[in-house]
Symmetry: C2
Subunit: 428 residues, 2 copies
């Protein structure tokens, strides 16, 4: 990532501490911490550290001391609240803060009720009952944070200059406590972030994009912080306002003028959502004929609720037999041009739209790798075909990567982007 | 996660430090650290911490002091090696270690060659040339780690009792340096991990699975460490040997005997790979008819190279019109039983196999949510149909989650698992 200027506003600091052996041994991905980072982005808070540590008393205490020594304002601790012997978080905090552990009666009553129900339903092991009270434990002086979804009670309290939040590691419970309890009661009074926007692009590399907009960046880097963030499916430009005398919107417009068709959305927009909205707006229907992507484009277009309003269905024509038998690509064409060709892509798009009786037909044929390439048709070559408003087109793309997964992702993005551009061209 | 016994063998310790503002503000997911944890799992090393910190000199130095005070043996530092002004890692390390920065001539020569080539190809900005030497910087006394893929040179050196590795944050470069340079030269002499195995299951919840095998766990928890790790698509059982006098294989067999059909593979096996292997082994071909999963099952079956040897193609029948027109499900049946029914699943499976002339037809129809449910047919209800060896079957499943993404994932797993069981039943 390249940042082109700096903000120096004072912000309260945050530490995110996720505890659990399973997070360190490569077995479980810590998705909670990333989610929390995104969630806190709306507030003017500075995240100083995000740490994974094992279920080890000494290492947990060292980390707590570190955060307190560094005057971290908000410390989120998660994991190790379960009922088994290696869940040591609460007892470690108790000895560190020198606060006894007490039982929260309200929570215990709720758990007992829940447990009795469950027991009747599924014949749950009765030894579990003895574990219940451990799930209602809380440090004396700390306030409970309710857990409407799972069993372990959360809690919050202050020590030195820091406020601590102690949460279960189960993602659904963690997110629920933060969204419905911690943010409303403890964080919502914090100042909100400086105005910012993320401009999302696809179909252009980082260095080309930078060349297009570098003058704008250099002329404005006292007013805004610019970050250019490349992903293999597209490059994002993030702009954060650092001087309130200038308007983010003007600079945004300047950039959009330069980058034109490569821009597809903002912030959390995904290309498939943008395309779906366009289709709903113009009341269009679509069918898809996929070869190399094997269902990925259809899967992406049906990811969002409401997609049954525009996607009628598709054909996965992984073999030439199906391209011929179901999509009626003539054998002579397959022989003359090969399955990976603009001709075949166009016939696939045209014929799937006819067969499925849709406004638009979208097709793709290519070579994802790791084998199947030749000098003529190397790995990473693919053609996207589109039938729209009675006409068909195709475009050729060439990725230089021999990575099956990446090539399938890139080529799906290219297909969705061509679809977006053609709808705009024909209907807007 | 529940661990049922502990290992107390001494192991060298590891810290993983990823540096970069973009890792803290929720914009970029730190996939490198997780990858490294998995990679180091093969060796008898204990990962003490994995940390994300921003491009901030004070915070970087605090973290280094922390690691050194805690006698961490191997410290992996990544990010902030780029040429822009916020890439401060090397300069921070230089002032912390009190080692001057020098230019590595070999690397600079290579970069100059590469740069000249690139310039001619794409008209790269000439101002970039002045950045080149920063990419060849190295701490005096540290050894270079070559970067065959990108520009920034890596390095390794010792300080206090710790060995430091300094790496670029770009995932491809990071992984290449670790795999091809750090592991062979610095880590490969470490003792390998205790024998271990992960048993992968699907179609059963954590508590049911635990009940099935808890006696084995209690009888063996001095010899092995057991971990039960739930994911929404399946539960994994990890067994690590802690006493060399006992054989992991016997305990593994005992567990397999108890869990039977729920077990589909080991370690890094994915269900789609296991199913693909079965199909190749028995020289079977398959076609798929998907409704609610909208292409996800076909996408998963074509994820792996070589899938064109068994998957011929599929029909995405997202609308009833296509179920009728392409898959020839009679309108009367759709009307009488509804699209989400065992009858329709069976006809879809049978007819896609006929139409595509394959040995097996696999189908799915269901309600992924968030809307479309009713009292009769709630969200999360789905039917998987299969045509195999001239017969067809279907199974009903009911997920209790109203989460479109999770329901699509769970139902794809259920479909692939039914496919696995039916192939085994009919061909093994």
């Amino acid at each position: 990532m390249c940042n082109y200027s700096f903000s120096s506003i004072y912000m309260k600091t945050v530490a995110i501490i996720a505890i659990g052996d399973e997070l360190l041994n490569g077995f479980t991905v810590d998705t909670n911490s990333h989610w929390l980072k995104e969630c806190l982005w709306n507030f003017s808070l500075s995240i100083s550290r995000a740490v994974n540590i094992p279920d080890n008393e000494r290492l947990i205490i060292s980390e707590l001391e570190f955060c307190i020594d560094n005057n971290i304002d908000y410390i989120f601790i998660s994991g190790g609240l379960g009922p088994t012997h290696d869940d040591i978080t609460k007892h470690t905090l108790s000895s560190f803060f020198k606060l006894p552990i007490v039982i929260n009666d309200d929570h215990l009553t709720k758990l007992k009720k829940k447990f009795t129900k469950k027991k009747n339903e599924s014949g749950m092991d009765s030894s579990a009952q003895s574990m219940l009270s451990s799930q209602a434990e809380i440090l004396d002086n700390f306030k409970p944070i309710p857990n409407e979804i799972g069993t372990a009670l959360g809690m919050s309290g202050e020590y030195a200059n820091s406020r601590f939040f102690v949460l279960p590691g189960v993602p659904k419970e963690y997110k629920n406590m933060i969204t419905n309890h911690i943010i409303p009661y403890y964080i919502s009074n914090e100042p909100i972030s400086n105005p910012s926007i993320t401009i999302k692009t696809t179909g252009i590399t980082e260095s080309y994009l930078f060349n297009m907009i570098k003058e704008i960046i250099y002329n404005n880097n006292k007013k805004f912080k610019f970050s250019i963030l490349p992903h293999f499916t597209g490059v994002n430009i993030r702009i954060i306002q650092i001087d309130n005398n200038f308007c983010l919107d003007d600079t945004k417009k300047e950039i959009l003028k330069k980058i034109g068709k490569f821009h597809y959305g903002y912030n959390n927009d995904s290309l498939n959502k943008v395309v779906s909205k366009l289709m709903l707006k113009h009341k269009l229907t679509i069918s898809i004929a996929e070869s190399c992507t094997g269902g990925l484009i259809s899967k992406q277009l049906t990811d969002n609720p409401g997609s049954s309003n525009f996607i009628v269905g598709g054909v996965i024509a992984y073999s030439n037999k199906i391209k011929n038998k179901i999509l009626h690509v003539p054998e002579s064409i397959l022989k003359k041009y090969g399955a990976v060709s603009s001709k075949v892509a166009e016939i696939m798009a045209n014929n799937v739209a006819n067969l499925y009786e849709t406004d638009i037909g979208l097709s793709i044929t290519g070579i994802a790798g790791p084998t199947g390439g030749s000098d003529d048709k190397p790995i990473g070559l693919y053609y996207v075909g589109i039938f729209i408003k009675g006409q068909f087109f195709s475009e050729m793309y060439q990725s230089k990567i021999n990575d099956r997964k990446i090539n399938r992702e890139i080529s799906s993005m290219a297909a969705l982007n061509l679809l977006r551009l053609k709808i705009k061209e024909n209907y807007e």
